[in-house]
């Protein structure tokens, strides 16, 4: 049926571009896709029947070429194109519609996504995390090759968080809106997952190899630092966000002193708990 040829060829046309972005699919952080899409094996360009409800009678013939784009890839492209319109329209279906228009699709294609722009925001966060990972990996390679000094832990954390937060700068005006959407109950699993994997990533490249309780405390601490710095950045009007970076520096320094005082706190804590237990026993008698 030749009715299928025009749209399929339109999808095939930019296969070359998409192959370049193929490595981004290797990231396990592509959780911007919804649950009902099967996760694709890394680096796998579809040569057999791509997932999605394809009519059986196009099984044979030209449409089966390896350039075939799946719905998921198309959605990714639309969302990426839509990011350009976010400063003007906010994180809304309108921005997605404008993005679809630039790709030559009808504005109705925005109907594929939720009307509150959740997918767009999750897509953006996922892309930022991917960029951060690549940046940290590159830095690590430089250190391994001996071309750069290994940074002390506090400087490493500071730079990583700063690099990640700087990615928000073009969208900073509409970011509070995005944060509130990410907190919707529907989105919390995905947004939480993205956040924790990003924090994980940073600690991994920081050289953290702990397998004990420290793993949790480290992640909790860094998550706290990241979230509070993000909020400070929202209402920071200083030139170049210097207030935010200074806040970040202080928090990271606090965390460092805290870890050394942690054991002290622990023993104090134990003492306090014992005191309370004694008091409870006394009172109950």
């Amino acid at each position: 049926r030749c009715q299928h040829c025009p749209p399929l060829r339109a999808l095939q046309a930019s296969a070359a571009l998409r192959r370049a972005s193929d490595e981004h699919k290797k990231e396990p952080l592509t959780s911007s896709s919804q649950q009902h899409f099967d996760s694709r094996p890394a680096g796998h360009q579809p040569e057999q029947e791509p997932q999605g409800p394809h009519p059986s009678y196009t099984g044979q013939g030209g449409q089966e070429s390896e350039d075939y784009e799946s719905e998921e890839q198309l959605q990714h492209r639309i969302l990426t194109a839509a990011l350009e319109f976010v400063p003007e329209h906010g994180w809304t279906a309108e921005a997605i519609a404008e993005g679809a228009k630039t790709l030559g699709l009808s504005v109705a294609a925005a109907g594929m996504f939720h009307s509150d722009g959740s997918e767009l925001i999750l897509h953006f966060v996922s892309e930022c995390n991917t960029k951060l990972s690549k940046l940290l990996e590159k830095e690590q390679k430089l250190v391994q090759l001996g071309k750069a000094e290994k940074k002390p832990i506090d400087e490493f954390l500071r730079d990583a968080v700063e690099a990640r937060l700087r990615m928000l700068i073009p969208y900073i005006e509409k970011w509070p809106q995005a944060l509130s959407v990410l907190l919707l109950p529907r989105n919390i699993p995905s947004s939480l997952h993205l956040l924790t994997s990003m924090i994980d990533d940073i600690w991994h490249y920081a050289g953290d190899q702990s397998t004990d309780f420290n793993w949790y405390t480290r992640r909790a601490v860094l998550t706290g630092i990241y979230n509070t710095t993000e909020l400070v950045m929202m209402q920071d009007s200083s030139p170049g966000f210097e207030d935010t970076w200074r806040f970040l520096e202080n928090r990271v320094a606090d965390a460092m002193t805290m870890s050394s005082a942690a054991s002290q706190v622990q023993s104090t804590g134990e003492a306090v708990v014992q005191g309370l237990m004694g008091a409870a026993v006394t009172v109950s008698n």
Binding site: G52, A100, L103, G104, L105, S106, V107, A108, A109
Partner: protein, 261 residues
Amino acid sequence: VYQVFETVAKKYDVMNDSMTLGIHRVWKDILMHKMNPCPGTLLLDVAGGTGDIAFRFINYVRSVRQRQLQRKLKHHQNLSWQEIFESYQKDKFNSLGDSQVVVCDINREMLRVGKQKAQHLGYSEGLSWVLGNAEELPFDDDKFDVYTIAFGIRNVTRIDLALQEAYRVLKPGGRFLCLEFSHVSNPLLSRLYDLYSFQVIPVLGEVIAGDWRSYQYLVESIRQFPPQEELKAMIEDAGFFKVDYENLNFGIVAIHSGFKL
């Protein structure tokens, strides 16, 4: 089918209200919210006779456009009064943002009633009324952003042809939306629904529209219509992607949606 609707045309809206106890308005509103059109959308409403969907579309787009204009004006805080006045003037003549709806129906009477309603309710711009058959639409390829067919597809003899035509006239990225009576899976509700359909509706038809047979036909055609999954498969066969359906009222009515990708 033609004759059924010829006799029914004038009383169509009244019958709809009494049969569905007015819920059909809610169903159509839900359809519009699901569509969420932005200004500049070109809609084709097939079998849209009396214009319910078309009017809702115009209202929706108008309010979205209003909000857009308000936002733009807010950004213009620093302009002089002259500039603000000029930009307001320019936009005043574009209250629909270039959105348009084409109402297509096979039945001249239904279109006539629709046109009268439009005049009566004050809808003047953005509307077109075209006589046409869903199995063979009088439009070029790749024209429309959205294609809707509300309570019309069960009256089409060859549903697959209608779906193929829908695919043809939609732009790439365009959306197909179908609002139709469907199958109730809940057994208790199914029995109540059957009771209501076969006992109450034809009686209402006789009393209000003076036409028992048309409404008997209507109820039977609902039962004959393919269930949700089958219709979904048919839509996929026509070439649409991301086909999905949403049951309203436990399956009494379902909205099917697909994209031409």
